[in-house]
């Protein structure tokens, strides 16, 4: 088995974008069901982004639903990459929610289930860390939180982040760097 090269990955992404354009043309021509392919293709990474930003599975579900439906009704406005356009809808909704509506009790714990991979004591430590991490993330400005979530939760490259957020790699590295420093300071006393 051969490992795909970066050229292979770039080609696959390019093919997928062409497919997206074809699907969009089908939906705009009246094939409503074709939209399910786009939902299937992009819902997981977008859900993770909304979840990472809001810390609440319920809110992440609402943001995902509202964003996909909004995108459906504005599909004729897509210029360029559909996935980047859709990402910005979800990202902006997540940031608006953080800015305007966030309430303090929200946390990842809402639906946290034991993984079965850890002892009960380890699970307790993990839950505690997760809560503390969520609290610490909640104190960061939205732009730093967004950069941290995209890099460390979603595992995206800086180049991909720069395309999605329409900014430079250097600016993003700085945001991630600042987010890391802030998190480290916030969590150090408790976990050092």
């Amino acid at each position: 088995m051969t490992t795909p090269t970066s050229n292979d990955v770039a080609q696959a992404a390019s093919d997928q974008r062409d497919e997206d354009q074809e699907i969009i043309a089908q939906v705009l021509a009246g094939s409503r069901d074709a939209y399910a392919i786009l939902i299937q293709r992009y819902s997981d990474p977008l859900y993770r982004h909304a979840l990472g930003m809001t810390g609440s599975p319920d809110v992440a579900e609402d943001i995902l639903q509202a964003s996909f439906i909004k995108a459906y009704h504005h599909l004729h406005e897509v210029r360029g990459r559909f996935d980047a356009w859709l990402f910005r809808i979800v990202a902006n909704a997540s940031k608006d929610w953080l800015k305007n509506i966030r309430r303090s009790h929200v946390s990842y714990e809402e639906d946290d289930q034991p993984s079965g991979l850890y002892t009960p004591e380890e699970e307790m430590d993990r839950t505690e860390l997760r809560t503390d991490l969520e609290r610490a993330l909640g104190t960061l400005p939205a732009s730093l939180r967004e950069a941290f979530v995209m890099k460390h939760v979603e595992g995206r490259s800086y180049e991909e982040m720069a395309v999605l957020l329409d900014t430079t790699v250097g600016a993003l590295k700085m945001r991630v760097h600042r987010a890391r420093e802030a998190l480290q300071q916030l969590l150090e006393d408790r976990y050092a």
């Binding site: 939209y35 819902s43 991490l133």
Partner: protein, 95 residues
């Protein structure tokens, strides 16, 4: 010269990780926990729910406004009950 408020932008992906070098154990815990979220998937019911709701634009507009506070009246959801007119008490007394 380095301005303390504007430190230089890290040149490489490795370099941008300076803070964790000071406390690798803590950083391992933080990133380990963050990466746990990478396995999260969209709930299966949600995809169908989105398809079922595609044509209900009004309901989606309401959901959107509730989520993002896009319009005036956002605070309606959290606002205290508005004060009642002064004469309402008089009517109640009469009953």
């Amino acid at each position: 010269m380095t301005d303390q408020n504007n430190p230089p932008v890290p040149e490489s992906e490795e370099e941008d990780g300076d803070p964790q070098a000071a406390n690798p154990e803590l950083w391992k815990k933080i990133t380990g926990e963050a990466e746990m979220l990478r396995d999260r998937k969209t709930p299966v019911f949600l995809k169908q729910q989105i398809m079922d709701s595609l044509d209900d634009k009004e309901a989606n507009d309401r959901l959107w406004k509730r989520l993002t506070g896009e319009v005036e009246g956002l605070s309606d959801r959290f606002a205290d009950e508005p004060p009642r007119p002064w004469y309402e008490k008089l009517f109640k007394k009469d009953k």
